[in-house]
Assembly symmetry: C2
């Protein structure tokens, strides 16, 4: 059961001018399952992507990088579930390319104008013929108001669809930002991968979009962890269709640029946090904020050390205000000149640790009250500077072991 | 239940000339529990230690480092269970010092000739008075053949005592190496820490011992992982009593030096592996060997990425030959120029992955046969050099979550 996360209300998902989405059942792995999604972009869209840093990256990730680098203008996105096409060598590359070629032929595009995405079982052969056979149905289904159905169609072990949308005013125009994501575990060999797709009709030059996508990912998808495992297929794509009636944004540091970026960041964070809320076996949503660092980087290190620790995560599952586990994680985070006598620790508003030792006024029942909540903020002060960073994670439950110890089936 | 590990046979634990061990029940945390151990060294022993790199290190670790640096000659070791004296600030330092002073007074030593070790609950006040009150009983109990009882007395959540012993011939003399360890989780806030103590009567100059202790730790305790969490109290101490009737070893690269080091490394690896075999919830003992690297360091990174991955560890628990999880871990291990098309993967003798893809002759039933064993070797070839490294770990079970989600009690 996801933590404080409901299925998206289709009425709240604003279409993005210049974007159509179509879904089909292609039988990639199982029958009667929506498993192929196409996203069609009108000519002139700016598109950028951020991809897994895993060296063992999947065939579609390699092709996406290549096609984006060609600069022909991305016009279509093709997503399949049921098979990740990872660990499949040259054969996997050829099969992924075949799907790009097939979709490009339907749309009279170059294959390099298509970005392919796959999520599902690793190291099994992609049934590209089935995907290609499903394309006409997906294309026939293409509509502007299909974001909610697309969010469902890209799910794998997700228990709930993830889609968010907002609108802002830019230069007198109403600009829409809508996105979908899927996750569950950072990687499941059954059903792998985090995917995120986000589109706006704002007018943003292609030259700005690469950095924007990176900045958005760094503030959202790159700040979450379920189990510390980095998927072979993780991908996040940002699209600006340039359809809105405002003067083009030429700098993200302009007033319009900041307005748009804030809206996009809000949706990106909602999409990323939704993945944590629906994390495998999650019963709690935990915000880990580390402050008082010399650099944001060291705060991030400490926050991830806490968020990755199986001992910390099982303590959250147990609602055990287990101070030592959090402090120990900070201690091994890699901040070599850390002074343990400067450390503060808060659970929500409860001041647990002061100067590296138990706060004399701390009462265990106060800590336990917070630990029983379904949403908890852990705040650590390093006492060595003014930098801060935040990551989001979930707890580690019996259900996680059960899900991941199930034989692939 | 530990994986293929029996309680030590006291008859097989050779006393080490120059070392006496005494045990007492001091009621540190619970009554009727052997919780204080003293190790007494005759004058002239060489002693070195390797300690946790956790910046949030416990008071006794700080004192050990200081006392070893003083160079007055270590004559006694004092270990308590039930309380880790970590996260206790200046007060914790004073209490730990008080126990050193008390033991030194009994033995007519300087306090700086005593090394203190604590393991147990974090962030609770050390009841140093109870420890000090227990010293006379521990001293009265001091005997050369107490290694087995000492191994029991330093246990916390361990389910079985860990002690190993061997003898080798050096320069016509029979030299003994005997050691004890405790662990369970790398850290348990209830009952924290890995501790290892090893003694030989060999004649080794103090000047050689620091590097020797580091080398031994790097080949044993620094090559194991249960859950990736580094304790605040981890300590490993190496003692050479210089009592054996052979010419002093002046270089560990001499023939005698190599003989001794091999015997000590054997015992150190047995002690370290025993901690994994008795890991919290462990049902399998897993050797992860990475070969074909440019450097041993990158092999170690890849081996630890595999050994730390909750997804890999749950797959072992489930006996699921889940190739993708292992390959994905190699991919995110941080080897930035890794070529995935060069990767090989073996489960024991079964060649699972070749050139980064599934081995055409691999049959799932062969992988599953290996995965069902209680001892499994994962061997990864990186195909980029001749370096190799090995780490040992266990699987990740429901029992781990149960143990660590239990409220401290």
């Amino acid at each position: 059961m996801p933590v404080n996360l409901s299925a998206p209300d289709p009425a709240g998902l604003h279409p993005v001018p210049g974007v159509l989405l179509g879904i089909a059942e292609a039988g990639v792995r199982k029958a009667n399952r929506k498993d192929v999604t196409v996203v069609l972009l009108e000519e002139g869209a700016s598109v950028a992507g951020v991809f897994t840093q895993n060296r063992f990256c999947a065939a579609p990730v390699q092709i996406c990088r290549d096609h984006l680098a060609r600069g022909l203008g991305i016009r279509a996105i093709l997503v399949n579930t049921g098979n990740a096409n990872a660990g499949t060598g040259d054969d996997g590359l050829m099969r992924a390319k075949s799907t790009c070629i097939a979709l490009a032929q339907h749309l009279d595009l170059a294959p390099e104008q298509v970005l392919p995405f796959s999520t599902g079982v690793i190291m099994e052969t992609l049934p590209h013929d089935r995907i290609n056979a499903g394309l006409p149905a997906a294309l026939a289904d293409a509509r502007a108001d299909n974001w909610g159905r697309a969010a469902e169609a890209i799910m794998t072990t997700d228990t709930i669809a993830k889609a968010f949308s907002t609108q802002v005013q830019i230069g007198g125009a109403t600009v829409t930002v809508t996105g979908i994501s899927k996750g569950a575990g950072m990687i499941r060999p059954n059903m792998a991968t985090m995917l995120g797709f986000m589109a706006t009709d704002a007018c943003v030059d292609q030259a700005l979009l690469g950095q924007l996508a990176k900045d958005l990912a760094d503030a959202s998808f790159n700040r979450i962890t379920i189990d510390g495992d980095t998927s072979t297929n993780d991908s996040f794509v940002v699209i600006a269709t340039n359809k809105a009636a405002h003067a083009p944004i030429t700098s993200m540091d302009s007033a319009d640029g900041r307005t748009l970026k804030a809206a996009m960041q809000q949706v990106a964070q909602q999409l990323a946090q939704a993945i944590v809320r629906d994390g495998e076996g999650a019963t709690k949503f935990i915000t880990v904020r580390v402050e008082g660092g010399k650099t944001a980087e060291e705060c991030r290190l400490a926050a991830y050390a806490i968020a990755h620790s199986p001992l910390v995560k099982t303590a959250f599952f147990a609602s055990d205000p287990n101070l030592g586990r959090i402090l120990a994680a900070v201690g091994y985070a890699g901040i070599t000149d850390l002074d343990q006598t400067k450390i503060d620790l808060f659970l929500d508003d409860v001041h647990v640790v002061i100067n590296g030792g138990r706060n004399p006024s701390y009462r265990e029942e106060d800590g336990q009250r917070v630990m029983k909540q379904s949403e908890i903020t852990v705040r650590v002060g390093l006492g060595r500077g003014t930098a801060a960073d935040t990551v989001w994670t979930c707890d580690f439950s019996h259900e996680y072991v059960t899900i991941n110890a199930d034989y692939r089936s």
